[in-house]
Symmetry: C2
Subunit: 318 residues, 2 copies
């Protein structure tokens, strides 16, 4: 049987690539795609078995591109569903070309230029304020792109802010590790599959993930909670429709865990709501979610079931 | 009495500036601020009577900076409340230096460079595809900044994509009008005041707005609906809390019209929900909203009333 194939948001050594390696291991075939919509299209067209896309960051909130593609205004991805999730803690390192700094050197004053993604400057303000006041900064399209640029320079003494994963991929020295202000900054990725594919399933993904952890599958707690994603549309001028829709979740014993709304692109002030919910029991959840969808179809427009998967969040409250 | 002062998100001739002129008229003192947080701080510090900030676009969705400042994780803006809203339709024009093109000229082939905000390229794709294939594009920080640059050039034959308002402000010729793909693209602005200020109120704003329309205030329909904004926090690991909170709105006869969630910045996967709601009756709404808040305080954390104002949306459904 061919290798399991997984697409991620490129370039190589991006945080999405790291999430793909953590979730699927290095024995899967991992294929970068340049955009979110390319990753969704790859799953819809069954070019790959799975895609892994960022969905939500603990500091910055929802990833709007992913929400819009799940909302799927043009019905371009109608067979794409969520079958898993993966949490990745975002750590940043200061990286330089191999050997140009003595091991353990703490004096960065000879570094003349820094490269990273605009968001990473803001995530490392304390470290940058302490060591890099006034040093030239160059924005790049991704942290791993910055690491790549630094790895290819021959004359400048520049550095990149990127992950340990990017350092290893591009063969860079790590001058300082965990330089981010908030060491708990975490991104939740969703794993997508095509419902018509026989090469992918929720169970298959969980089996791959468990193997990759190098733990026997029996180590997964039996009482793991499920998560479900359902979308529907409500017009702003239909009084009570949103509350009625949300009540349906409760009447089926589903807890609402998140609600996002996006413009439907059908008309102004017409929204798609994307609701994540959980059953309070330890059952599979999918059957209940299907019941919720059937009832939602009475009070909403274009209601769609977008998948059931196993909750991977290790919460202090659990 | 001193002029009413209003701050808006700069630079001069921005869409926020245009919204401020439409809502407050030219007799108010209009003051640009460089950032969203500066505009909120100006209201909190009573440096101005009002601020007008973009809240939601009919195509792109919520403006996250405004949501985060209303969510107010650090309690920096605790006296800031919403007292009004204003809808602005976003129209784009092709603008050039006065006199360098003959009036009515439809041949743009001598234009060598275009300036606009990155979002505006995407909003004018059809027009640009028809007339400007392969022409150099320069991103600028705002559409009005592009208009300013073009107005100051002396040698180049460049053009900017910006509003009619920016054309008039910077003294530019309008070569083509309404070049946007979607003529209904609309931004909703919120009007903010300080609850401790005696110089501002919901009634004062509505009076100013009505005067500025050059209609007598009695022309405002008596049955205008209200809108209310309330924020609260729910932990992801508190099953049922979100549904319970949303049920409270229904039990007070409040319709949910929008729900946004943002990371609380207190802990990972801990959210602030910002809920807009409407009473079904024609009353003021504020008293009911206060009752909702009192009940919400039983099941949520840090619940806050963020204002009541008159719904300005002219919907086909009304």
């Amino acid at each position: 049987m061919a290798l399991t194939s997984v697409t991620f948001l490129g370039p190589q050594a991006s945080f999405s690539h790291q999430a793909a390696v953590e979730a699927f291991g290095t024995s899967a075939e991992l294929i970068p795609r340049p955009s979110f919509s390319d990753a969704f299209a790859a799953v819809q067209n069954q070019d790959v078995d799975y895609a892994i896309v960022p969905f939500e960051n603990s500091t910055n909130g929802s990833v709007l591109q992913t929400l819009d593609l799940l909302a799927d205004a043009d019905a371009a991805y109608k067979d794409v569903q969520v079958c898993g999730e993966h949490y990745l803690t975002v750590h940043h390192c200061l990286l330089a070309r191999k050997g140009i700094f003595a091991s353990g050197e703490q004096d960065y004053s000879s570094i003349t230029k820094l490269y990273t993604h605009p968001q990473a400057w803001g995530q490392c303000e304390n470290f940058l304020g302490e060591h890099f006041k006034g040093v030239e900064r160059q924005d790049v399209s991704s942290t791993s792109k910055g690491a790549e640029i630094v790895s290819k320079e021959t004359t400048e003494r520049s550095a990149a802010i990127a992950s340990r994963f990017a350092a290893e991929y591009h063969g860079l020295d790590i001058l300082a590790e965990n330089i981010e202000d908030n060491s708990n900054n975490t991104t939740r990725f969703l794993v997508l599959r095509n419902t018509k594919s026989e090469r992918s399933s929720r169970d298959s993904f969980e089996h791959i993930k468990a193997q990759n952890r190098q733990e026997p599958p029996t180590n997964i707690p039996a009482a793991k909670k499920n998560k479900n994603l359902i979308s529907f549309m409500v017009r702003e001028d239909t009084p009570g429709a949103l509350a009625d829709a949300l009540l349906i979740f409760k009447s089926h014993g589903m807890n609402l865990t998140s609600i996002n709304s996006r413009p439907s692109q059908k008309a102004a002030w017409h929204y798609v709501f994307l609701v994540e919910c959980q059953t309070t029991t330890t059952d599979d959840g999918q059957e209940i979610a299907t019941g919720v969808v059937a009832d939602l179809q009475q009070v909403t427009e274009a209601c769609r079931y977008l998948g059931t998967w196993t909750d991977q969040l290790v919460s202090t409250g659990n």
